[in-house]
């Protein structure tokens, strides 16, 4: 990006470089092309199970197949026998004391291989399989790990969809708390106001009561004062006369 800006700036500065500016980065990228062929050996083909077939432990099967069309099945064996006899008779192969040691050693080898070959092969195959099983375990463990991670990731992604429940609950809680506080304060205000009003009422009542008592006391006092001693005696005599009259009247009635 920056190189293109630099090149265009250079092109505007020097008109002879204008053509080069248009070619610059694109040409470099166009001339080098990598990885055009088909990828061979990918994925890696598995090892063949058995090796090339071999007869008599020495001679590859292809030799026998090569001679089969012309000489049939016994061709290569006849060829072998003929060659051996030819070498012996012409003494191209010389019979020395070493020949007998060779024969004994080869005989011993053939016997040992024939008898224990299979079991040794199995033993080595077991070793191989143990190694492969170990590697396979590691591979499976790592695959399982990654799969567990994927599932965990998916579960957490699913949880994200359910976040709104959490937020709803929180919103509800906050709304309730606000409501409760509002009502508490309302109640408090009511109580305070009632308190003040009660105070005024009780003050009024008290004043009223005091005034009444005071008035009553004052009136009584003055009335008592206004009754002089003489008036009191006259009043008492009149009361007694009245009572006597009443007593006579009362006594007279039941007789009738």
């Amino acid at each position: 990006m920056l190189s293109r800006v630099v090149l265009s700036a250079a092109a505007t500065a020097a008109p002879c470089l204008r053509n080069a500016a248009f070619l610059g980065p694109g040409v470099l990228q166009a001339t080098r092309i990598f990885h055009t062929g088909q990828p061979r050996l990918a994925p890696l083909p598995p090892l063949p199970e058995y090796g090339g077939k071999v007869r008599l432990g020495l001679i590859p099967e292809e030799f026998f197949q090569f001679l089969y069309p012309k000489t049939g099945v016994t061709g290569p064996y006849m060829l072998g026998t003929g060659l051996i006899l030819y070498f012996l008779s012409k003494e191209i192969y010389v019979i020395t004391p070493e020949t007998f040691s060779t024969i004994s050693i080869v005989g011993l080898l053939v016997y040992v291989i024939k008898k224990y070959g299979a079991s040794i092969g199995e033993f080595i195959d077991n070793l191989n399989e143990q190694k492969i099983a170990q590697l396979e375990e590691v591979k499976q463990a790592s695959i399982k790990q990654i799969q567990d991670a994927i599932e965990l990731e998916k579960a957490q992604q699913a949880l994200v969809q359910k976040r709104h429940y959490l937020f709803d609950v929180q919103r509800n809680n906050i709304a309730m708390a606000l409501e409760v506080t509002y009502r508490e304060r309302l109640h408090k205000v009511y109580k305070e106001v009632k308190n003040r009003l009660d105070y005024h009422i009780s003050v009024q009542n008290m004043m009223h009561r005091k005034e009444q008592e005071h008035m009553i006391n004052w009136v009584e006092k003055h009335v008592v004062q206004s009754i002089s001693a003489q008036q009191e005696k006259e009043t008492i005599a009149k009361c007694i006369a009245d009572l006597q009259l009443l007593a006579k009247k009362a006594q007279a009635q039941p007789v009738m």
Binding site: L47, P48, E49, Y50, G51, G52, V54, G57, L58, P60, S89, K90, E91, I92, Y93, V94, I95, T96, I113, G117, G121, D125, N128
Partner: protein
């Protein structure tokens, strides 16, 4: 001798007997070519008989056999004196 393909690219089994000298001469005799030929031969043998899951004794057997033959050929000159008959 009319051949459809040029001689150079044919494999050895497809080369006719008359074309054999020209085919041999057309092979790559530079040091890189010779080393390449040895490498190819080695890996052909290795991948066919040794680099398999269940190799047989033949893969290991062919090497001593070839060595025996080779050393017999080398020491034939001294062994000639141990011949039992004079005329064959």
């Amino acid at each position: 001798m009319t051949s459809v393909m040029p001689v150079k690219e044919k494999k050895l089994m497809d080369v006719k007997l008359g074309e054999l000298p020209s085919w041999i001469l057309m092979r790559n005799f530079t040091p890189k070519g010779i080393v390449g030929a040895f490498q190819r031969g080695y890996y052909r043998f290795y991948n066919k008989y040794i680099n398999v899951k269940k190799g047989s004794i033949a893969g290991i057997n062919m090497v001593p056999a070839a060595y025996v033959l080779f050393s017999y050929c080398l020491s034939y000159k001294e062994l000639k004196h141990q011949r039992r008959h004079k005329f064959h």
